[in-house]
């Protein structure tokens, strides 16, 4: 276990290094923030002066080296536009994203597991077919379309929920539902296929032959074994949700990381984007690590090495 954690930590350093190089290079290839700050009629002289003031006239390698030096000290620099510490701006938005991702994931799990189990148990029935059609729709409909439909139906027409911003529980439902829909549909299908496979295995037949109740057979024996591949997918889903549900946050005016990233990319606010990429990369590393441990708990045959 100890060796596993040490190896993972070393890997994490390389992953973070890779993410920082890729994001740094891509951002700098895409232009510079100065052109977007200056008015259109600014002179070449004014442009040069601001490039120099912000340090964008230095060689790219030197800029990256300075960035890495800051990073080692935990300093991600200041936002080019607001002049506030970039990491502080990113961390300010994180709670909103965590809240949305957690509720989206909760909704996904709460609906997906019963639906998947029901579809597997009553395979071929109207319940199964109905649920599979719904999951197909859930996986196929783009999130921006679903979000707008939710806003128009449940916000504008029925007035059940507010359509913009963060506040109480009522603000969370529509964005979380539209964000969690894809994950919900995919998980339901995975649970169904996993359960179908397991329900036909010999040990389930044995369990039934022993006279165990159907509930015990399904939950204790079948579901636990069907969980292994689902955990991996759920882990990746969590990381994706935390990585900034850019479209959902934009449509529902949710003040999270995704909204900040999209604005910062469009304004070429490099320090914010780099800080956000760092946080997202850390999230992926942590979630993957956590999933591996969970894997071993659920399936004792898996050894952490």
């Amino acid at each position: 276990m100890q060796a596993f954690i040490i190896r993972r930590l070393i890997q994490a350093v390389f992953v973070l290094l890779g993410a920082s190089i890729v994001s740094f290079a891509l951002l700098h290839l895409a232009g510079n923030p100065v052109d977007l700050i200056l008015p259109m009629d600014a002179t070449a002289e004014e442009r040069d002066a601001m490039m120099h003031q912000l340090g964008y006239d230095r060689p790219l390698i030197q800029q990256y080296a300075d960035y890495m030096r800051g990073l080692v000290r935990g300093d991600f620099g200041e936002s080019v536009r607001s002049r506030q510490p970039a990491m502080q701006l990113v961390l300010e938005r994180l709670p909103a994203t965590l809240e949305l991702a957690a509720v989206a994931m909760a909704i996904s799990i709460v609906f997906a597991f019963p639906a998947g189990i029901a579809a597997a148990i009553w395979r071929g029935s109207i319940v199964d077919r109905g649920l599979m059609v719904l999951t197909l729709i859930g996986q196929s409909v783009p999130v921006f379309f679903l979000g707008l439909v939710f806003i128009l139906v449940f916000g504008v027409r029925l007035r059940w929920f507010p359509v913009a911003g963060r506040g109480g529980l009522e603000h969370l439902i529509l964005p979380a539902l539209s964000l969690g829909m894809y994950s919900m549909a995919r998980t339901a299908r995975l649970v169904r296929s996993g359960m179908l496979e397991v329900l036909h295995s010999d040990y389930i037949t044995t369990a039934r032959a022993k006279g165990l109740s159907e509930q015990l057979v399904v939950v204790r024996h079948a579901l636990k074994n069907a969980l292994v591949p689902i955990i991996t997918i759920l882990g990746l889903d969590i990381a994706t949700l935390l990585g900034g549900a850019i479209i959902t946050e934009t449509i529902f005016s949710w003040p999270g990381l995704g909204q900040l990233i999209i604005y910062s990319v469009s304004t070429r606010d490099f320090p914010i984007v780099q800080a956000a990429v760092f946080v997202i990369a850390c999230t992926y590393i942590f979630v993957n690590f956590f999933v591996d441990i969970l894997y071993a708990i659920v399936n004792p045959r898996v050894r952490l090495m």
């Binding site: 232009g31 977007l36 259109m40 004014e46 319940v127 929920f161 603000h171 934009t250 005016s253």
Partner: protein, 517 residues
């Protein structure tokens, strides 16, 4: 086994239906913040904008949505009244030109910042000198003119430049006067988050990415501003802004999508308001490109494009065709004598043939993606209309940041679709962008350059306007641009509020705004 399954399935369906029915009821009763705004005694106006302020220190930025928020806290010496077409005093009571280089400004007596600091000449000197080193787009040009501020007495200052510069007072409309004592105390970073000024409102809270809440200042020196609270909400998506207006979550919104215009117009509780903007749209010719250097070719392009159709079909009427000049009618310096090139494709073909235009070689036209209203549709339509007279156009839409970098590098040639905006209501910026010294200037006409050079230092307004008229006449005769239209900015508001003034310079003025009577 079968029986057990049937029972479970039924139970499942009943349970599901019950949860489905109960959930909205539970949630709708737990939503007082969403529904109960009207019942409170505090009068609140909520405005939805697409972009959050990056800072509340508007000495550092000129972004309209930021100015709308922080402009209620920080005030300039003077402001432009678009209804009267004149400057009016804000913190300045009077101002006059002493000579070509000097303006004298008398401050309004008895004004205090909301932290109790008095407004005085020394404070104004501090504020303007701080502005000169700020990242505001006007700062560098005023710094280059070595603008100096000299206090004459407690409430009088003199503003001096090192060369005649006609726009000192117009530029002053964009210089917020910040309190020296408070800034010294808290520093620039804190000031950007929590500014103090002389304005009608003070900051109550700023929730990043969500809202800025302002409350009425008890000590405000002026009149107007009936609302106790002003809330600016960030609603990035245009369709969501419209939805938030429909549900009453916000009272007014900016940047309404053309797609939503009819929805709002058809709602009896809402009004869509189209405001002619200070932005002129045109296609910039690279006049030094051999294929476009003949004036007849450029004139032909102007005749080939049906500008009325662009405005009526693609902007749904939300624009005004430019009358042969890149200057809107509300701008000082508009030339009333000029007319648009009439749509005449036959004449266009004839002019192109006379000029020996090479119809086989396609021309590239650069456009933007989502920067201007219907920008991609407009560039495609213009390319199609030019195609009708035999000119082959390849449209290259670019993301705004990439477009800007290439614009400054001078590589958007030979044609690019562009909008030029002036923050102050004077034609200078709209014309000077075509002079050779300007970063995007592709007209390359020495006579035009000479006229604009002279205008840049002509203080006397009538003489300057005469020079503008000469310049715009030359630009029209030489077909220096493919003149298109002025776009309207579309706002919308519900009937709970009245008196909001949506201005051509992206500003939302709340001085007369009040709850509907």
């Amino acid at each position: 086994m079968l029986e057990q399954q049937n029972v479970n399935r039924r139970q499942l369906l009943v349970y599901g239906a019950a949860v489905g029915a109960a959930l909205p009821m539970v949630l709708s009763t737990s939503a007082p913040a969403f529904a109960a705004q009207d019942g409170s005694e505090t009068s609140v106006i909520t405005v939805g904008q697409g972009v959050e302020p990056e800072t509340l220190d508007i000495q550092q930025t000129d972004v309209g949505s930021t100015r709308n928020v922080a402009g209620l806290i920080l005030q300039p010496l003077v402001s432009w009244n678009y209804n009267t077409g004149e400057l009016e005093g804000v913190l300045a009571e009077r101002w006059s030109s002493v000579d070509d280089l000097t303006w004298e400004v008398n401050l309004r007596p008895g004004v205090q910042y909301t932290n109790g600091e008095p407004l005085n000449a020394e404070g104004v000197k501090f504020a303007i000198e701080r502005f000169l080193t700020a990242t505001h787009p006007f700062a560098s040009r005023l710094a280059k003119l070595e603008l100096t501020v000299t206090p004459v007495d407690e409430t009088t200052v003199q503003l001096t430049t090192n060369a005649p510069y006609p726009f000192v007072m117009l530029d002053a409309t964009r210089i917020p006067i910040v309190p020296p004592g408070y800034l010294g105390e808290v520093g620039d970073s804190e000031f950007a988050l929590n500014p103090v000024g002389t304005g009608p409102y003070t900051l109550r809270e700023w929730i990043a990415g969500d809202r800025v809440v302002l409350e009425k200042s008890e000590s405000y020196w002026g009149e107007g501003y009936a609302f106790d609270e002003v809330v600016y909400r960030v609603v990035p998506e245009a369709a969501s802004r419209t939805a938030a207006l429909q549900t009453g979550e916000v009272d007014a919104i900016s940047s309404v999508s053309l797609l939503d215009f009819e929805t709002i117009d058809g709602d009896p509780n809402l009004d869509a308001i189209a405001v002619v903007s200070n932005r002129s749209m045109f296609i910039r010719f690279d006049c030094e490109d051999p294929r476009l250097s003949d004036v007849r070719v450029r004139q032909a392009f102007n005749h080939a494009v049906d500008k009325d159709l662009l405005v009526s079909a693609l902007l749904l009427g939300n624009g005004e065709v430019l009358d042969g000049q890149p200057i809107g009618r509300q701008i000082v310096g508009h030339n009333d004598e000029l007319e648009a090139y009439p749509y005449d494709p036959d004449l266009a073909r004839q002019l192109l043939e006379e000029a020996g235009f090479d119809f086989d070689e396609p021309l590239t036209m650069f456009g933007t993606v989502g920067r201007y209203t219907a920008d991609q549709d407009i560039t495609q339509a213009v390319a199609g209309m030019l195609g009708e007279v035999g000119v082959q156009i390849e449209v290259q839409p670019l993301e705004w940041g990439v477009w800007l970098t290439r614009y400054r590098d001078g590589t958007l040639t030979p044609l690019t679709f562009v909008g030029i905006h002036t923050s102050v209501p004077d034609a200078f910026t709209l014309l000077d962008t075509h002079s050779s010294a300007s970063i995007g200037g592709k007209f390359k006409n020495p006579d035009f350059d000479a006229i604009m050079n002279e205008a840049a230092s002509t203080i006397e307004p009538d003489a300057r306007i005469e020079l503008y008229n000469q310049a715009s006449q030359l630009l029209r005769d030489e077909a220096g641009l493919l003149f298109l239209y002025q776009q309207y900015d579309i706002y919308a508001a519900n009937h709970e509020v009245e008196g909001i003034d949506f201005r051509p310079d992206d500003a939302i003025d709340l001085v007369q705004a009040a709850p509907a009577s």
